[in-house]
């Protein structure tokens, strides 16, 4: 090397050393030769330092894969490959163990993924709304009860904007209660989801316009805005803009089309049509709750500040009308236990953080979110610990492998890497499997959860990061114990089979068994109680017959949406009654389960402040007999009397009003803007549940469909039980009366079950998680029992030699597990009892928690746990003791 004609510069010397360091030996001669030759050539026409630099530059360019020393492969890279290969072989060798371990973790992860999807969907409600948009709601306090409504008096919105500079804009809306016939050309559609809204409404909530002008679309009283799907349904591929459709007895022009509202919002609509087409909304009203009111606060405004100003605002505008209506001063009225407490909540809080009556859509419940998240965390913890435990238990059996490796010169670091590689590999496989399973079951799960969930919700940094973190931590922790514990042994003692097991590990393992069974027992009991309650609600006598009743939902179209004409309705009803298979039919404004109107009334002669809020329905003369409601006193409505101003009460109403001998007594209806109407009580019916069993029975008044302001919505038809035949006759009669109008009916009993849809879904989801938790617990127990039995194999052998029977050995080995499971029952049953009685408090009518349920849950767990242990034990107990004893 020192034969160079000139002494080489630093760059050349450095690069030569560099080249020697990185390049494989076999390349040295030719490449250094070429470089040297080039260098010498360059010296003839270049400055020496330039040639030196060029040399360095060329050497650096040689850093390419095929030039690099292959020796590197012999260390880290080769080892890693070897580790993966050995891990792979090891896993294949113990297929059952691998399968169980991967399955356990994968199931746990699947559960977590599903719950994450559910929770992240529910917490995403209305996230897309402007954060300065708030909705008003009222906590209305009556002397004997409180109600929370999202609906407030309609004059509030505009007045708020006028009075408070910090309120930028407002928009009001309300939803039509019943399905309506929509006519397009000659076609009729029975449609729901009609929203009446302010012209400013389109700028308040986040709407995506397809066509039309946001600012002016709802200006004209005869305009209508369609959702994209509705537009498609009504007009196909034609451009709907400017077309005319008919509903509510008038022609409306389509002025805009809006993208379908996202499902994850408290709001939904198919038709938006102006609020101001009703003269009622032009009148001043600061008392009656008539419109949902959204306000937009100016940037930087604290909603608390605005909220604090509301009581004074309410007093200023509502004092007069309230005084006028009740005949006592506002302050006296409030002092009597009444209250109008208005509040604001951010639109994104509506779904999970409010629980109001008369919402546009059923709200979610933040408690379920918490419970589900807790379940997810628990199941994940169990699955991860199970995984670690199983891996640890398994790894002690590999002492010999470790011994051989150590004898052959394996460094401790390499052994650690070996174990870590193996467990991390397993966890990654589990994660992939979990993703696959989650994606496969997601369609059924979203149906169950009634939410359009998508696996792509997982594609966000938090979820991916958390997933990898959990999986890698589990893998590393599971690998760490064997890695450090086993690799620290002297090879000789390991080879001799003198691997000792730490005592500390058994406390941990026992704790783990207790925890998993505690969770399983709690979940089983919870599921059983949920289903018990469902059963109770569906089978509880409601005070009327819901079986064999068909309800014509749009019976209000019988008079062709013309001026209300009772005779037409009666004619139709008489036709229906004559049909074969029909026993009787009757009209009503509200079927059980529907939203019911309020009715303010008091007994004449009592103080004004005695007025009571009741529920009110319009009944014809046959509905009560049709639904078999029990008459306690007096008579039903009848065509042979003039019942225009007659009223019937339910028993609760009679009691709350404190009327003795009610028949023939008078009752005054207090109306917001009119004089009181005097009714005569003609009958008292037994209480019946016209609302879901979540709520208590309420006082109710029933007035005649021939009376003032009467409304008919539905016709209930009691059939002989042969639905099919009766329905076809009814529909034929319908088509004769109102040809062309759609006919829509439902069965009362199945409709009533809809009340408990949310609970039913929750129950099913609970059931699934319970099943998964039990499965994971089983996997854990199986692994642990196998582990324990493995280490007592000699003991079993000795006992057998000394004459123990198989049964005795099984008792010996399962005794410990029974103790642990009993302990977990003791821990979990009080917890489950506490949480479930809280849950049952949601219902006005709830089952008593049956102690047998806990017994059953404990029994199931015991059976499963002991079953698994025994299954394992039998194998050990049946084995020839010679085998286990000879193995030295």
């Amino acid at each position: 090397m020192s034969k160079d004609s000139t002494s080489p510069g630093w760059a050349k010397r450095l690069s030569k050393r560099l080249f020697h360091w990185f390049a494989s030996e076999s390349w040295h001669d030719e490449i250094l030769g070429d470089l040297e030759e080039q260098y010498q050539d360059q010296l003839s026409y270049r400055k020496k330092w330039k040639a030196d630099m060029y040399f360095l530059f060329e050497v650096l360019l040689f850093i390419r894969p095929h030039i690099l020393k292959k020796k590197r492969k012999n260390t880290t890279f080769m080892l890693t490959r070897n580790h993966i290969k050995i891990s792979y072989r090891n896993l294949l060798k113990n297929k059952v163990y691998t399968f169980i371990n991967v399955l356990g973790l994968a199931l746990g992860l699947t559960t977590c993924i599903l719950i994450y999807l559910f929770v992240s969907y529910d917490t995403s409600y209305d996230e897309f709304q402007d954060k300065n948009t708030y909705r008003m709601w009222i906590n209305r306090v009556y002397p004997e009860r409180e109600v929370n409504y999202p609906v407030v008096p309609h004059s509030f919105g505009p007045q708020l904007v006028e009075d408070f500079p910090e309120i930028e804009a407002q928009g009001r809306c309300f939803k039509a209660g019943n399905p309506t016939n929509v006519q397009v050309g000659d076609n009729f559609y029975l449609e729901d989801d009609f929203i009446f809204a302010d012209s400013t409404f389109l700028s308040i909530l986040n709407f995506k316009m397809v066509s039309g002008n946001r600012a002016t679309a709802l200006d004209d009283a005869n305009s209508v805005v369609l959702s994209a799907t509705t537009a498609k349904k009504l007009f196909g591929n034609e451009d709907p803009m400017g077309k005319t459709i008919e509903f509510f007895g008038g022609s409306k022009k389509v002025t805009a089309v809006i993208e379908d509202y996202p499902y994850n919002s408290h709001f939904s609509f198919k038709y938006l049509t102006p609020l101001h087409q009703f003269p009622f909304y032009g009148q001043i009203n600061f008392v009656g709750f008539s419109a949902m009111t959204y306000i937009r606060l100016r940037e930087g405004t604290d909603p608390k500040v605005v909220e604090a100003k509301l009581p004074a605002f309410v007093k200023k505008y509502a004092e007069g009308p309230i005084q006028q209506r009740n005949g006592i001063s506002y302050d006296e009225y409030i002092a009597a236990g009444n209250g109008y407490n208005y509040h604001l909540h951010q639109v994104k809080d509506i779904h999970l953080h409010s629980n109001l009556e008369n919402e546009l859509k059923a709200n979610g419940n933040i408690n379920y979110i918490y419970i589900f998240s807790a379940i997810a965390v628990f199941i994940l913890i169990i699955a991860c610990i199970n995984f670690m435990n199983l891996s640890t238990a398994r790894s002690t059996e590999r002492g010999k492998e470790v011994g051989v490796r150590k004898v052959l010169g394996s460094a401790k670091g390499q052994l650690i890497t070996q174990f870590l590689t193996e467990s991390v590999m397993l966890t990654l496989i589990s994660l992939l499997l979990a993703l696959l399973v989650a994606a496969l079951v997601l369609p059924s799960f979203s149906q169950l959860a009634e939410r359009p969930l998508s696996i792509f919700q997982l594609v966000n940094p938090v979820a991916i990061g958390a997933g990898l973190l959990v999986v890698l931590t589990t893998g590393i922790l599971a690998g760490l114990y064997p890695a450090f514990f086993i690799s620290s042994f002297q090879p000789l003692s390991v080879l001799k089979g003198q691997l000792k097991h730490s005592k500390g590990g058994s406390a941990l393992r026992n704790g783990l068994v207790v925890m998993q069974f505690a969770i399983s027992i709690a979940l089983i009991s919870a599921t059983l109680i949920v289903f018990d309650q469902m059963d109770y609600m569906i089978n509880k006598p409601l005070g009327f017959d819901k079986e064999q009743v068909v309800v014509i939902e749009n019976a209000n179209s019988i008079d062709g949406n013309q001026a209300f004409n009772l005779d037409k309705f009666i004619t139709f009803r008489n036709e229906i009654d004559r049909l074969p298979g029909v026993q009787m039919s009757g009209y009503t404004s509200n079927m059980p389960g529907d939203q019911v109107f309020d009715f303010v009334a008091r007994v004449p002669g009592t103080d004004q402040k005695e007025s009571m809020i009741m529920r009110r329905m319009f009944f014809d003369d046959q509905i009560q007999q049709t639904l078999n409601m029990e008459l306690l006193e007096g008579r039903y409505f009848s065509q042979s009397f003039n019942d225009t101003l007659s009223i019937m009460l339910n028993q609760s109403a009679v009691q709350k009003l404190g009327i003795k001998d009610p028949i023939g007594k008078k009752l005054l209806q207090i109306a917001a803007n009119n004089d009181p109407i005097e009714y005569t009580i003609v009958g008292v019916v037994d209480d019946f549940h016209f609302q879901s069993l979540h709520v208590d029975l309420k006082p109710a008044a029933f007035t005649y469909t021939g009376g003032p302001n009467a409304i008919i919505n539905k016709l209930a038809v009691k059939t002989d039980g042969n639905y099919e035949e009766a329905l076809s006759h009814i529909e034929a009669t319908w088509n004769k009366f109102v040809p062309g109008l759609p006919f829509k009916s439902y069965f009362l009993d199945s409709d009533m079950e809809q009340f408990y849809k949310a609970e039913r879904a929750t129950g099913k989801i609970f059931g699934i998680f319970t099943f998964l938790a039990i499965l994971i617990a089983c996997i854990g127990v199986r692994g642990l029992s196998a582990f324990i039995i493995n280490h007592r194999v000699k003991e079993i052998g000795v006992r057998k030699v000394l004459g123990a029977s198989i049964a005795q050995i099984m008792v010996l080995l399962s005794k410990d597990f029974v103790k642990l499971i009993l302990l977990s029952a003791v821990i979990s049953i009080p917890l489950a009892y506490y949480f479930m009685s809280n849950w049952l408090d949601n219902f006005a009518y709830a089952v008593e928690i049956n102690w047998l349920i806990f017994l059953l849950a404990g029994g199931i767990s015991l059976l499963i746990g002991v079953g698994i242990v025994c299954f394992q034990t039998v194998k050990a107990a049946l084995a020839n003791p010679v085998k286990s004893l000879r193995d030295e």
Partner: protein, 111 residues
């Protein structure tokens, strides 16, 4: 043979090896690239191409030709294999056929 496609750089190297035989090694190839084609290429990339072509079986090499200017190190001398020759020959024939079919219009179109 049809399955083997080589880049134009590889083609040039193959041709240069054919030209310089039996004195074709990395440094002479580099010089030739510079002189004949006016292309500055690093030794490393020539090496890589040679290494690849030898792996394909288009070139074969022997060690030899120690000289003082190389600091007493030997050279890896390259030769075309039959396969190597066929590959460049096929390219030539293919190009020739294509050029014959080239119409003057199209020719001018590119310029």
């Amino acid at each position: 043979m049809e399955n083997l496609s080589i880049s134009s750089q590889e083609e040039v190297i193959l041709l240069l090896v054919g030209n310089l035989q039996p004195n074709a090694y990395a440094y002479t190839l580099k010089k030739e690239m510079q002189d004949q084609l006016d292309k500055a290429v690093s030794l490393a990339s020539i090496h890589t191409v040679l290494y690849r072509l030898e792996k394909y079986g288009l070139l074969k090499s022997t060690m030899g030709g120690v000289s003082a200017s190389r600091g007493g190190r030997s050279k890896r001398l390259y030769q075309l294999t039959t396969k190597g020759f066929t590959v460049v020959d096929e390219i030539r024939v293919m190009r020739k056929n294509l050029w014959e079919g080239m119409s003057p219009n199209q020719y001018s179109f590119f310029y």
